[in-house]
Structure formats: structure tokens, C-alpha cells
Symmetry: C2
Subunit: 250 residues, 2 copies
């Protein structure tokens, strides 16, 4: 069933009606050609999912009636923020789109010493708005109950200062296996459901040793992601898959 | 350091020389502008890595001298074959490129009941040759010691008959958590180093229940990949990341 996110609070009980507008009506009524009686899923601001049927639409707004209220459990038990250096081309889009499918809670892009890509100040807001739209679409497609946020931080110091987290890791090739298991596994063992994990990744050129040292000094743990070298846009997907495996499947 | 795969056997001992040609010379000497004395890495057919320096080149061939022979351990302990239904657009390329970074041993594309994409017979070889080139480039970039193979099978029956494996799984949304841990975790616990895992994924439209039933009857286990819905090109990356996590990090 088609899924949409609601932008305003609605009464979450069977039999009540609510009104949708904008892109949702455009897609549901114009693209999908829904007719009265047809159902879709609407995610509320409180992460419940309403199964609702179309009552009527004038093409600009649509009225829907709630047939059922459900509370699917589809979000990662750990809230993962993926923080990435600025990478070139469509890499940031790819990170947002696939990272959303894999359950990330937030994406932050930050400037760093060896970043080749630069985000001009006047283009930054437009970029972030585009990524937010990609996150929304991917969240709908992967049937999530929240849309990950997308934001920008000027550098690693701003990132550490402005972002709240319980545990922090930084992807670092030089981090070898320590004892029985990797630093990543050791870290995941300490994170409990409901906590916030901040995972930091360099741009294509990587982070400098000084940058990693400053993160380590702040209690953020360098973790290796296996013996193969991954592209900047693949490493976050590897980490998210592992958080899911560890917290949802094992 | 730049890495290239050798296509012919060479003497793997320090001080000996060997000759490279074709794309490797074009990239090493023309694109990277290597000069005599400069080193690169050459992966031999036996998965050793030669650190070798350029002796001389006429632009068509180049002679290199072996400075060191190494045996890096960068391949997944379990040989994973990723078999995917035919999906549209650049999805097969994405699967090959990122799946190579994540350690897959082989990729197989197969036609299935609900596949929207079709590979016309006269274009099949050209497609496979292109994907093989993508796999080679990704294997060089991610510093692997083998190039995954890429091939085609007409359907699931041909796939099961023609592909050798020790354990088989099929990604199946309907497969819920069974007892303490998921079917995927239970399966990975039974696979030991040196074995071959065949992992089957549907196209965008998924596999039919009949197709999954025929695989199950043949001993291939349906496994869920967490509670979120993933695109056809994301699911194989999730599985490969988890095989790496389980066999290389835990």
C-alpha cells in the first residue's frame, strides 16, 4: 500500500476524517489515481500509521477517513546519526537515499581538512532541501515511521559541540582488530536500545590524522569496517547494515 | 598505491621482471604518468600481491620489477555468490560495483516470473562484459585480491542446477524472526570459513510465492533482512555487510 507522511497532527482514531494537501494529494490522487474508497497509509507525527480511505478530493486537497490505527515497529532500536565529510557528485544523495532505507535517524554533512567538494554558502540551503526531499521519498518507500533529518555543520568541532549523542565512532581504516573482536563490535555491545549513536565518516580523501586524534580525544572511538577499502558512500551503508543486524536480527 | 590485476601467470619472486600491456599500461603509464622507479601493486592469478616498480615502457607494454611479494588477507572467509533477478536502469551496475567493494565472489543475474526488465539475447554478452569491467575496476579500488565473476542464468531452476554452493538463502520479506534470532543469523552460524553461500534476491517486483516455494523445497532457506523494505539494489549490500560483520569483525 502507498505510504505518505503527514505534516500536521490529526486525530488518531477510527472513523475520524482528516485533510491532506500539497505533494501528497498530487501523488495519491493525480499520479496513483486513487478513487473514493481506496486506501493508503499515513504516518502521523507520533509515528503511528493510519490506514485511511479516500472520501473525496477536488485535486487540491483530499479528505480521508481512518479505517485503522497501527503501530508498526520498523525503526532501528538505536538512533543512528550518519555524519559525512563533503563528497563529490551524487554521493551525498546516495548516502541519504540508501541510508534512509537502512534506518538512519539523521544525516549531517560537514566540511573537513581534505574535502575536495565545497558547498558554497548560497547553495547550501537548496542542497539540504533537496536531500530532505530524497529522505522523505526513501522513508515512504521503505515504509519507515520517521523521516531522517538532514543538516550541515561547518567542521568537526561544530559537529561535536552541536550534536547530542551517547556513543560516538569514527570510521578509520587504520583501526585493526583489537583482541577477540573489532572495535565496532565492542562498541555495539555497549549501546542499548533508545540510545543515540553518532557515526562519523570522512570524505573521499579521508580524515586527517589530526582530525581523528581530536575526535579520539573527545571520546569518539575509531572503528575499522573490515579489510576492504570502501568508497565514501558505501561505508555508512556497511555500518547501518551492521547496526540493524546486531540490534534487530541477532 | 595503485593496484592492478594481472591476467597471466608471472614468477612471484623479488628481483624478477614481468611485462604488462593493454588497459593496465594505459592507466599506469598514460593516465597516472608513472616514471621508472615508481611502484604499483599487481595481483597475481594466485591472489598474491606484487609490489613492483616500473623499469621502462614504450607506451604499449611496460616492464616491471618485483620489489616485494605480499599475501594480504582481504577476502571474505565465506565465498558469497549474489544472485539477483533482472532489475531496471543502473541497478545491476550498482549491485556489481558496491557488492564488489563489500566482498562478493560472484554475481549472477537471472530472469524470473515478475521481472519487468528483460535482457535481449543479443545484448546479454555485451552487458555481462560491461559488468565484468565494473567488477574489475571496483576490485582494484577496494584492494581485493580477486575479481568477482559476473554471469547469467535463464531462470531459478537453471541457477540451482548450474551453481555450486554449500548453503543457500533467499531474501524474503515474509520471513519473520524465528525464536531468539533471525533465520539469517541462524544460517550464518552454520556456515564455516571456506564454504560457499548462495544468496538469492528478487527483482524490483520480488519473487513469486511459487518461486520461493521451489527454492525452499530445494533446501534454500528464506531469510528476512530486517523490518524495513529495501530496494532491489540495496538488499544484497545489506547481506554482504552482515556476512563481513559476522565473519570478519565479531
Amino acid at each position: 500500500m502507498q505510504r505518505y507522511f503527514l505534516d500536521e497532527p490529526v486525530t488518531e482514531s477510527v472513523g475520524t476524517t482528516f485533510v491532506v494537501s500539497g505533494e501528497t494529494v498530487k501523488h495519491w490522487v493525480k499520479v496513483m489515481r486513487a478513487t473514493p474508497g481506496e486506501q493508503a497509509e499515513f504516518v502521523t507525527l507520533t509515528q503511528h500509521v493510519l490506514i485511511a480511505q479516500l472520501v473525496n478530493s477536488d485535486g487540491q486537497t483530499a479528505t480521508a477517513k481512518v479505517d485503522a490505527v497501527t503501530t508498526p515497529n520498523v525503526e532501528l532500536p538505536v538512533a543512528v546519526t550518519i555524519a559525512c565529510g563533503l563528497s563529490k557528485g551524487d554521493k551525498p544523495e546516495q548516502i541519504v537515499q540508501r541510508g534512509t532505507e537502512l534506518g538512519a535517524s539523521a544525516f549531517i554533512f560537514f566540511d573537513s581538512q581534505w574535502a575536495v567538494a565545497k558547498w558554497a554558502k548560497n547553495k547550501r540551503e537548496r542542497k539540504l532541501a533537496r536531500f530532505a526531499k530524497i529522505a522523505r521519498g526513501a522513508a515512504e518507500q521503505s515504509h519507515r515511521t520517521m523521516i531522517p533529518s538532514v543538516s550541515y555543520q561547518a567542521d568537526l568541532t561544530a559537529l561535536r559541540t552541536n550534536v547530542a549523542y551517547d556513543t560516538g565512532v569514527v570510521a578509520w581504516e587504520e583501526s585493526a582488530k583489537q583482541g577477540e573482536s573489532s572495535a565496532l563490535v565492542q562498541t555495539l555491545k555497549t549501546v542499548v536500545a533508545g540510545q543515540r549513536l553518532l557515526a562519523i565518516f570522512g570524505p573521499e580523501g579521508g580524515l586527517s590524522e589530526a582530525e581523528v586524534a581530536s575526535l579520539t580525544a573527545a571520546g569518539i572511538r575509531p572503528v575499522g569496517l573490515g579489510p576492504r577499502i570502501m568508497r565514501a558512500e558505501t561505508a555508512p551503508l556497511y555500518l547501518l547494515s551492521n547496526v540493524s543486524f546486531w540490534s534487530e536480527l541477532v
